[in-house]
């Protein structure tokens, strides 16, 4: 006993202390390395936009299934919650996922209002959010956050290139319309910016109410204006009602109908039917894209989901899941160090069905490899959006975004 020197004692004590201090970490790391990675999903599974929620989820599951629901030795657990497209419900579900389920990462939503409602809590709780749809420009502008990435699109992106393209290829005079809410104004705003810069003139501008069922007064105005070109943003039931009534008024014979891609996406195309033929839209995706990743994506998707043809929303889900998988691989499944994880996400780059996918480090918004100009035609897969031209590397301007924030 007498030979235990102070040094030995100190060495032993510090070893014990170090062991005690790091032991729990080691144990937790070991436990963590076997605990599943919880991916929270806030999407609408009821309501008119449920189809989008389903498509996005299907895209995500396709990727996770390919990876056998595992990454870096850990199981992936998706916890899905229905936000019903209602901000109070969406926020409640988000809080459940963060506070109660303690998800490692959050994805969603479809509704920009829900996204804006989620933004502050996500930011202050340092929960990583991969936006898999909502296009509110603000999230890539003044409301951007270090913890928020967007794998879908910003409202600006499909419309800005269309302005220039349409001015060059269709007409320099346009009548434009969108529903009377922020997303509608954002989308048309982006179009107007580039259209007018390319020498175009807006000869009419209308903002019907969201959920309008009777577009007749607006269509009559368009007819009476003699416009040769109409550019619109409509989605969901608005897109169906507008396109059908546009056709019924005989406007297709006199005026070219163009718009942001959501006008003719597969959630509305079947209901529009023949009325949609010939409509030209801009979008970052079409199932007919001719690259090897997309061809495989379409084949695997159809095999998995009973012949269903994937749409832009499924591609968004696919990309969201790819971002999660690849970033986790880069950090060896370490979900504890959020800073490292965020840095890994920002650096993710891969081949997506839409082209080469990467985030803009300035805004954490996806840089669209292409915005494709597509026309609705009858194809072997039924009515679909056939790409025939494209604009490369469309990056949201990110005005007012200062990261890290």
């Amino acid at each position: 006993m007498g030979e235990v020197t102070r040094r030995t004692f100190l060495a032993a004590a510090s070893a014990a202390a170090a062991g005690a201090a790091t032991g729990p970490w080691v144990l937790r790391a070991q436990a963590q390395s076997t605990e599943p990675i919880k991916v929270g999903v806030v999407l609408p599974y009821t309501g008119v936009y449920a189809e989008l929620g389903v498509s996005i989820t299907q895209g995500m599951k396709l990727v996770f299934a390919r990876e056998n629901d595992r990454v870096a030795g850990r199981k992936i657990l998706m916890i899905q919650e229905d936000d019903e497209m209602k901000p109070p419900v969406g926020i409640r579900k988000m809080e459940k996922l963060i506070d109660s389920d303690k998800v490692d990462i959050l994805t969603g939503p479809v509704h920009s209002g829900i996204l804006m409602g989620m933004r502050d809590k996500v930011h202050s709780s340092k929960t990583i959010l991969i936006v898999s749809n909502a296009g509110a420009d603000a999230i890539s502008r003044e409301r951007c956050s270090r913890w928020i990435f967007r794998a879908s699109f910003s409202n600006w992106q499909p419309n800005f290139p269309m302005g220039t393209w349409v001015a060059k290829n269709v007409s320099k005079e346009a009548y434009i319309a969108a529903p009377n809410y922020q997303a509608g104004k954002d989308q048309l705003g982006a179009f107007k910016e580039s259209f007018e810069a390319a020498g175009g003139k807006i000869i009419g501008e209308d903002y019907p109410k969201l959920g309008e069922t009777d577009y007749a007064p607006y269509l009559t105005k368009i007819k009476q204006s003699g416009a040769k070109l109409v550019y619109v943003f409509f989605s969901g039931t608005d897109a169906v009602n507008f396109v059908k009534q546009y056709d019924q008024f005989g406007l297709k014979k006199t005026t070219k109908l163009t718009g942001a891609g959501f006008l003719t996406e597969p959630d509305v195309l079947p209901a529009q039917g023949q009325s949609a033929l010939g409509i030209i839209t801009g979008h970052f995706y079409s199932p007919l894209l001719d690259n090897p990743t997309n061809k495989k994506f379409v084949k695997d998707f159809r095999a998995q989901y009973g012949g269903k043809v994937p749409d832009g929303f499924a591609c968004q889900g696919y990309d969201t899941a790819e971002v999660i998988i690849r970033s986790l691989r880069a950090v060896n499944g370490n979900t504890q160090d959020k800073d490292k994880w965020v840095d890994a996400i920002a650096k993710v780059e891969f081949d997506s069905p839409r082209g080469r996918f990467r985030f803009d480090p300035k805004t954490h918004n996806v840089i669209q490899p292409f915005i494709y100009i597509r026309k609705v035609e009858e194809t072997a897969l039924g009515l679909n959006n056939v790409p025939f031209d494209k604009v490369a590397n469309v990056t949201d301007p990110g005005t007012g975004c200062t990261l890290p924030a």
Binding site: K209, A216, Q248
Partner: protein
Amino acid sequence: MAFIPDFFGQALNGLAYGVLLFLLSVGLTLIFGMLDIVNLAHGSYYMLGAYAGLTLIAVTGNFWLALLVAPVAVALVGAAVERTCLRPLYRRGPLDQVLLTFGLIYVFEDLVKWIWSGRIRSIPTPALFSSSVTVLGATIPSYRLFVIVFGLAMAVALWALIEKTRLGAIIRAGVFDSEMTAGMGINIDRVFTGVFAFGAGLAGLSGVIAGPIQSASPPMGASILVPALIVVVVGGLGSLKGSLVGSLIIGQAETFGKVWLPGASMLMIYVVMALILLFRPQGLFGRALK
């Protein structure tokens, strides 16, 4: 000179929209006028009509057949609902009936979603009326002209049915004094079921008629209720004439509102309602309130 065809074009739009509103609301006002029931699930019958219609068209390819058969199917559903859920409540007064029909909105919406999925659907325009025509310089889809003619004919037919036929007299008598009418040997229960089914069928019919113009989705039952209720309140609960006049007024107000006061399009229908109710709280042709 372009003002005249421009104006006329919009007036035609307003007329078509007004007639659609009439078709939508007449079932609601009849059921109230005859049975004293506010059927909040009225929009659900409209929705059922649209969905039954599009299924029939998908199967038979014939719009006109769907127009004939779908309302009958919806009427049968209405009859079933009246017999099982509403008849027990007649003794209890209008409040419980209102509440029950409110619960039915949820039931129907989910059933429709279950059977037909939540995807947006639509009834294709019948081939006969798929083009547009020019009337006095104004372009209007021929289908909307059909709607105008059909709707106005319907209004006349309903008026004749209620005022001029024996069946109408029985119904009116049954509502006015059910005990006396029953005492005269008329099966009053069957009359009530029949009237309710008829109202539901009318709602279903308007769902098919509006189909080519509008899309169909499960939440449409709840959302179509508000314009229908407003038309009925403005026209006067229970008044067929009020329903027609009220919907024509609102149709024009909404249409010209969209042209001249674009920012106010969501509010227009409420403004009209508020103005009319300010001076006639019972609606244009409603029974005077005590």
